[in-house]
């Protein structure tokens, strides 16, 4: 009850205390969840990374050995990291840009756009296992529908998933089918841009492309920041599609870092090693995200920002 009339010092003290406490109360669900469900496993996995930790049997402390083997002995560590980076370089920009284009295109309240939106979201609705089965049918070299269609056009399609030169691209395309989610996020963001801005710009004869660059993108930048960061994260955590579609092959051309972790944990049962892998991946994503976040002050525009530095009442 912040409207209470302040009568004496004690109650003012109390009032200020509550004021100070309020933000923490708002974020308390997450804090509690973090303490209950995340912190423990996090510490546990950190400790685990210094152990030789088979799923069953004896667990022995090995110090930094897991990190050492990973960085110096195991060629797959660097290979898989490089493949993941290559994937991210394609996936992140395409996911954000195509998502943005679709969102802008479908932001018109014209007949039929609702149906189109639903269509583009369709692949996001299908669960991973089924989606991969579908892609396997599409990409199949001899019996696939894609090469069948290309064949009708007189083109001999490549062995999409069997040729190391094409496989990564095939995975990128399959992953981009999920951009309906990005589209929807940006579409939602577009709704909070005041229509008046566009009307004014239109009246003064600003062309459509300029409206996109000078109004839409800046006003949408908080949401764009979100999609960039979450795209980076999902690029690094890319697993299901490659695991089920190519199993990392052919010849490890789609062996992503997340699959490296997965194999160490579930194929080789080396939980300690997998934990060490995970911590390295965690740090890489964290650094990348922080870089993006730091850069965001230059390109993200917040209508309602509460900068901690310009603290008003404390």
């Amino acid at each position: 009850m912040s409207t209470l009339v302040v009568q004496d010092e004690a109650s003012e003290e109390r009032h200020r205390f509550i004021e100070k406490l309020t933000p923490y109360l708002f974020i308390s669900p997450w804090i509690l969840g973090f303490l209950f469900f995340t912190l423990g496993p996090l510490i546990f996995s950190f400790i685990m990374s210094f152990y030789d930790w088979p799923v069953v049997g004896e667990r022995t402390f090995v110090g930094l050995q897991n990190y050492e083997v990973m960085l110096t002995e195991d060629p797959l560590f660097w290979d898989s990291l490089w493949i993941t980076v290559k994937f991210g370089l394609f996936f992140v920009p395409f996911n954000v840009i195509l998502g943005l284009l679709l969102a802008v295109l479908l932001n018109q309240k014209v007949f039929g756009t609702g149906v189109f939106r639903t269509i583009f979201y369709l692949p996001s609705v299908i669960s991973g296992v089924a989606l991969v089965t579908i892609w396997a049918w599409i990409y199949s070299h001899e019996y696939g529908i894609l090469n069948f269609l290309l064949g009708l056009a007189g083109i001999e399609g490549p062995n999409w998933l069997g040729d190391p030169n094409w496989s990564l691209l095939a995975i990128v395309i399959a992953s981009l089918w999920g951009l309906g989610g990005t589209m929807l996020i940006l579409l939602t963001g577009l709704q909070s841009i005041p229509k008046e801005l566009y009307e004014a710009a239109k009246m003064s004869g600003v062309p459509a492309w300029a409206r996109l660059i000078y109004i839409t993108i800046p006003m949408l930048s908080p949401m764009l920041l979100f999609t960039v960061i979450t795209s980076i994260i999902s690029a690094f955590q890319q697993l299901t599609i490659a695991l089920l579609l190519t199993g990392g092959g052919p010849l490890e051309s789609t062996y992503f870092f997340a699959m490296y972790i997965y194999d160490n944990a579930f194929k080789y049962f080396e939980m300690g090693f997998a934990a060490a892998n995970s911590w390295v991946m965690f740090l890489i994503i964290l650094v990348l995200s922080m870089l993006v976040l730091k850069s965001s002050s230059a390109w993200v525009y917040y209508e309602g920002e509460m900068k901690n530095s310009e603290a008003a009442d404390d």
């Binding site: 708002f26 295109l105 008046e196 960061i229 995970s278």
Partner: protein, 270 residues
């Protein structure tokens, strides 16, 4: 002219997005004979509608449906409440440690599940939650980082003057959250709800790890049961996949309409 071009491009793109779904559908209704034919059959001679019924009754899918619905509804409610509170906290207050905590929150999105799995299992086991739906529901009441981040970004596009005006009129923080921001972020909340619905509906790993008894299984787990170690029941997978797509698609169709029409943002601003 441009309109025609736009529609053309949209139609082409949608064809590419629809084909996978269409393929699943016709696979579901094909007879075994046509399933393996090449060149592929684009419309089966005989549409086997029975395949849906057969697949559904191969496993107790009615039980799975009940479990899935319980998980999805209860966890979505939790996610909407907790995330909107937390996002509001991060977007509209200044407090000691805010930026550091926010980075911590973001970083929780980046932890690979592989290594969290065993410790989390241990924890749920100690709580006696294994083989119950609780591990799939309760954590949703403690705000998922992805959605908090999303909502925070959305709230931050709302001009701060709105809050200030309300405070002048004597509203406290809770009232500003409840009366002003909750309605304002409705489109984003619908978005979060849709996303979470989809995640919970399609979640495979969580149910696989935490549920033991078939009477506790969810739909996705049942679907995966058609894929054994050596042989796969393709027709049943396709049929159940089609069925499982329908509720999220209907939800999505209405959600996107709401997001588009229910945009109050523009009327408050300007």
């Amino acid at each position: 002219m441009t309109r025609a071009l736009t529609y053309g491009a949209l139609l082409f793109l949608s064809a590419m997005f629809i084909i996978p779904f269409y393929w699943t559908f016709i696979t579901a209704v094909k007879s075994i004979g046509e399933l393996y034919q090449f060149p592929p059959v684009f419309w089966p001679d005989e549409v086997m509608w029975d395949n849906f019924v057969t697949a559904w009754f191969k496993q107790p899918f009615d039980v799975y449906l009940k479990n899935s619905v319980i998980v999805v509804i209860l966890s979505t409610i939790g996610q909407l409440f907790s995330c909107s509170l937390v996002a509001f906290g991060f977007a509209r207050f200044k407090f000691r440690g805010r930026d550091a905590i926010f980075v911590l929150l973001l970083s929780t999105m980046m932890i690979p599940w592989d290594v969290k799995m065993i410790p989390l299992y241990m924890e749920f086991n100690m709580l006696g939650w294994i083989n119950t739906l609780k591990p799939l529901i309760v954590p949703a009441y403690f705000a998922d980082a992805f959605f908090v981040f999303l909502l925070r970004q959305y709230i931050m596009t709302v001009p701060i003057e709105i809050d200030e005006a309300a405070r002048m009129d004597g509203a406290n923080s809770w009232q500003i959250y409840w009366r002003i921001h909750l309605p304002l972020m409705m489109p984003a909340l619908v978005l979060v709800g849709t996303f979470h619905f989809m995640n919970a509906w399609n979640d495979y790993l969580g149910p696989l790890i935490y549920l033991n008894d078939q009477s506790k299984y969810t739909l996705t787990l049942g679907l995966s049961m058609f894929k054994g170690l050596h042989e796969t029941d393709i027709t049943s997978i396709a049929a159940i996949t089609v069925v499982l797509c329908i509720p999220p698609l209907i939800l999505f169709f209405f959600a996107q309409r709401y997001i588009m029409d229910g945009s109050i943002g523009s009327s408050v601003k300007g």
